[in-house]
Amino acid sequence: MKGPEINNSSRRSFLKSTGHLIIGFSLYPFVSCETKGTPLAPYNGTPLRQHIDNKLIDSWIRLDAEGYLTVLSGKQELGQGIKTALIQIAAEELDIEPARCRIINADTGQTVNEGFTAGSNSVEGSGKAIRNAAAEARLYLFKLAAQKWNTSQESLSVANGIIKSKKGDEISYWKLLEGKFIEEKISGEAVPKNPSQHKYVGQPLKRDDIRKMVSGESHFVHDLRMPGMVHARILFPPSYQDKLSSIDLSQVESMPGVLKVIQNGSFLAVVAEREYQAVQAREKLKSLAVWNKTPIETLPKQLFDTIKKTSGKPEEVKLSPGIAEVIANTAISHSAEYFKPYTMHASMGPSCAVALWEENLLTVWTATQGVYPVRATLADLFSREEESIRCIGVPGSGCYGQNGSDDVSGEAALIAKEMPGVHVRLQWMREDENKWEPYGTAMGFQLSAGMDADGKILAWDTNVWSDSHSTRPNGRAASFVSARHLEKPFPFQKGGFSAGSYRNGIPEYTIAAKQLHLYTFSGPLRTSSLRGLGAYGNTFALESFLDELIHKSGNDPIDFRLGNLEDPRAKAVLEKLAEKTNWKSRQKTETNGFGIAYSRYKNSTSYFAVLAEVEIDKAAKSYRLKKLTGVIDSGLIINPDGLRNQTEGGMIQSASWSMLEEVQFDREEITSTDWTSYPILRTMETPEVEVHLIDRPDTPPMGAGEAAMGPVSAAIANAIFDATGSRIRDLPLKAEKVDWKKV
C-alpha cells in the first residue's frame, strides 16, 4: 500500500448526480442505536456512489457515516442470515461493535458485481473480500494515525473505532477521515486477525432483520410503497407452449380502476389503481382468453423411462476403463436405479417486483439472487445500455434457489415501459408461481458397485440423467420466461453448465475404480437452480445405494463409512454423530428404524452426517419421521446460531422434499397449482431436529446452507428400510411405496 493520503475525488459528486434518490423506502437496514458508551447520532446512510472496481477498499467498506461502519456486499439476504455474518466479519477486522455496523446488499448502483447469491459461497466469497478490505482499511487508518502523531503503527491500539497511542492521543476513525472515503486499493499487505483474537466472529449475534419482521415493519420487496405506485398482474398461458389465439380486451379495459391492459403476443398484463382491482381484471382476462394448446409430451409416470431413452452421448466426467468387468468379478456385486421427480421451490410469497421506467433510467426493485445478471438480461430485453438500468436487491420470500423473482422483474419492467414515470408493482398469483417457476429438475441414477467378501468396495460406477440446474438470467432476454411469449419472441437456449448435474455424483469413499457418466436430457418442464442442485438427488441415490451395500455385506453403517473414508474431518462428523445419538446402544424395536447418511457438499466444502429415526404404524400403513440429528463441520464458524438455523432449516426442508414433494402435471398443464395439490411439510409432521457443530477455527469458513439437503433424504430412506425392509428408490418417500405385507 502506498503512503496514506486521502482522496477527495470529484467522482463522488459525479456519481451523486447520476444516482437515484428513493422516497418512501429506506435502502438501509436501520438498527436501534443500542451501543455501550456515548449515544450515537442516527444512521443516515452513506452518500450514494457506485463502486469503481472490487479492488478498492471503498467498494466494500465505508466509514463516511459518523460513528458507523457501512459494509457493502453484492450478495443478497435470502433468509440465510448473510447480512449478520458479513457484518460480524467486518466488525471484527475493524474493531467496531456490530451494533454500529450497517450493510447494503446487492444494488447495481452501489455494490460490486458478485454474480449470484448461490452455491453456499457468500461467506467464502463475499466474506473473504470483506475481511480483506476491512483489514486493509484498518491498516490504512493506523498509517494515517501514525503519521498524524509521528509515531509507529505498532504503538497504536484500537477499541470500537477509536485509535489510541501509547502517549495518550485518541482519535476516531471518522475524525481521522474527516468525512472522506478510503479510495485505496486492497494491496494484500494487511493481515486479517488470527481467529484466537476474534471477539465478534464466532458469537451468536442476533439478526436485526428478525426484529423488524416480528413487528411487521417493511422488509420484503412485496412491502414497497412508492409514491403513485400502481398494481399489475399478468396472465400466463395455461401451459408452456400454448399461444394466445384471441381475446376481447375492451371488456377488461372498462373495469373499475383499470389503467391499462397490455397484450404483446401471448404476454398479457393488467395495471390497476388498487391491487384487488388488478386481481379482478386478471380473472376477467383469464375467462376471456382463448388459447391454441400444445400438449405436454411426457407424463410423470413415463418420465424416467423417457429420459433414459432420449438421452444422447454422455459426458465422460470420470472414466475407469474396464470397470464393468471389475464389478462383475467381485464377490458381492450390486446395481440399482434411483429417481428424483421435479420439485418446486414453492416460495410462500408469490414473486414480486417494482419497476420504474424513465427516459434515462430503468430502476427495478427485485428479490433476485443476482442483481447484475438481471441487469444484463434487462439490457438485452430492451436493447438498453446496462448503465441506464439499476437493479436494487430487496429481500423476497424464501426458497433457496431460482423462484419467479427474476422473471417477475423482467415482466414488471415490460409493464413499466408502457407506463413511463410510474412505479409499477407486479406480484404473481399462487398458480403463476407454482406453474411457471423453474423447478428443480427430475433426475435418474443408475448405480453399480462391487465389493470383496469383507465388504471393501472395489469399484463404483455412476450414471446420472439430468436436465439443466442453471437457466438463471445470463444476459439473454429469453431467460425471463415471458420474453419467450412476446410477439417477437426471444429464442431460449439452455446454458452449458453441467457440473451442477453431477455434483456429489462421485463417492468420496476410498474406492480403487470410480466412474461417472452424465446424460443431459431436455425434459418437458422448465428447470433451474434449487438448493444444492444435483447434489440433492445424487446424494440421495449414492447414500441409499451405499446403505444397500452395507446391508449386503452385513456391516454397521457408521463403522463402514469410517473404514472407507480417509479425511479426518469426514470421520469426525460421523464419530460425533455416533457419540451424540448413542448409536451403538440404540434401541431397535419392531416399529422403529434408524438411517445414517453422510456427505461432504460438492466433495469439497462442508461435512455433514445425519441420523434419521422413523416410527412405523403397520396397521395404518404409514410412517412418521420422528427425529433428525445432524453434525456439521463448515470450518471456522462465523455465527454458531446462524449456522445452526441454516442447518436445521435445510434438514426440515429436505425432509419435506424427500417425503412429500413431486410436481404433478398432465397433458394439458401443471396440476400442482396450490398447497393442496403440492403439499409441503407443515408443523404437525415436522420432526424433532438436533444439530451439533464442529468448529475449526484454523480452517477457512465454508458455505453451509446446502450441506444437509442430500444426506437427509438418504437417511430417511435408509431408516424406512431399517424399519420395514422396503427400499424406496424413487422420491418422494411415500408410505404407499412400502411393501407393507413384508413388514
Partner: protein, 156 residues
C-alpha cells in the same frame, strides 16, 4: 359498487369506501398501509394473510372485508403496545425463529391466539395451532421453541 365500510383495526375505527366483496387483506395493505398481512395463496391455505379477529387467528385473502363488521381486528403491527413487544414477538427474536420471515405474521398471530386461549399448551397443541401456516424455509422447529418460551414468559 363501492360502499362505506367501517372497520376496527388495531384499536382504531376507520370508515373507507370499498367494494364490500374485496378481501380484507387488500384493504389492510392499500387503505391502512399495513405490511404484516401478506398475500400467499388467495385460497386460505397458507396463513400468510392472518390477522387476529376478536383474538382468533383468521386468514383474510378471501374473506370479504364487509363480513368483519364489529370484529376487533389486530394485525402483527398492532401487537406492539407502547413500543413494547408482545411476549410472542420477543420469543421469536430470542430464539431467532426466522429465515426469510414471510410466514412470521401467520406464525406469530397463530401463537398469540393459542396462548390467549391456552397459556400452557402442550407441544402437540402448539403444533396444531401453527399447522395452518406454511413455512418454506423449514424453521418449524424454532417456531415451536419460540412458542414454548413465550408460554413460559407469560406464565412467569
Amino acid at each position: 359498487m363501492p360502499q362505506n365500510i367501517t372497520l376496527r383495526v388495531n384499536g382504531e375505527t376507520k370508515t373507507i369506501l370499498a367494494d364490500p366483496e374485496e378481501p380484507l387483506l387488500y384493504i389492510l395493505r392499500d387503505e391502512f398501509s399495513l405490511n404484516a398481512a401478506k398475500y400467499g395463496c388467495g385460497l386460505h391455505q397458507c396463513g400468510a394473510c392472518m390477522v387476529l379477529a376478536d383474538s382468533k387467528a383468521e386468514p383474510t385473502c378471501l374473506r370479504p372485508c364487509s363480513s368483519f363488521g364489529d370484529t376487533e381486528i389486530t394485525t402483527l403491527e398492532g401487537l406492539t403496545k407502547n413500543g413494547k413487544l408482545h411476549p410472542v414477538q420477543q420469543a421469536f427474536i430470542d430464539t431467532q425463529a426466522a429465515q426469510c420471515g414471510y410466514c412470521l405474521n401467520g406464525m406469530i398471530l397463530s401463537a398469540v391466539a393459542l396462548l390467549e386461549e391456552n397459556p400452557k399448551p402442550a407441544e402437540r397443541e402448539i403444533r396444531e395451532a401453527l399447522d395452518p401456516v406454511i413455512c418454506r424455509c423449514g424453521t418449524h422447529s424454532r417456531f415451536i421453541k419460540a412458542v414454548k418460551l413465550a408460554s413460559e414468559t407469560i406464565n412467569r
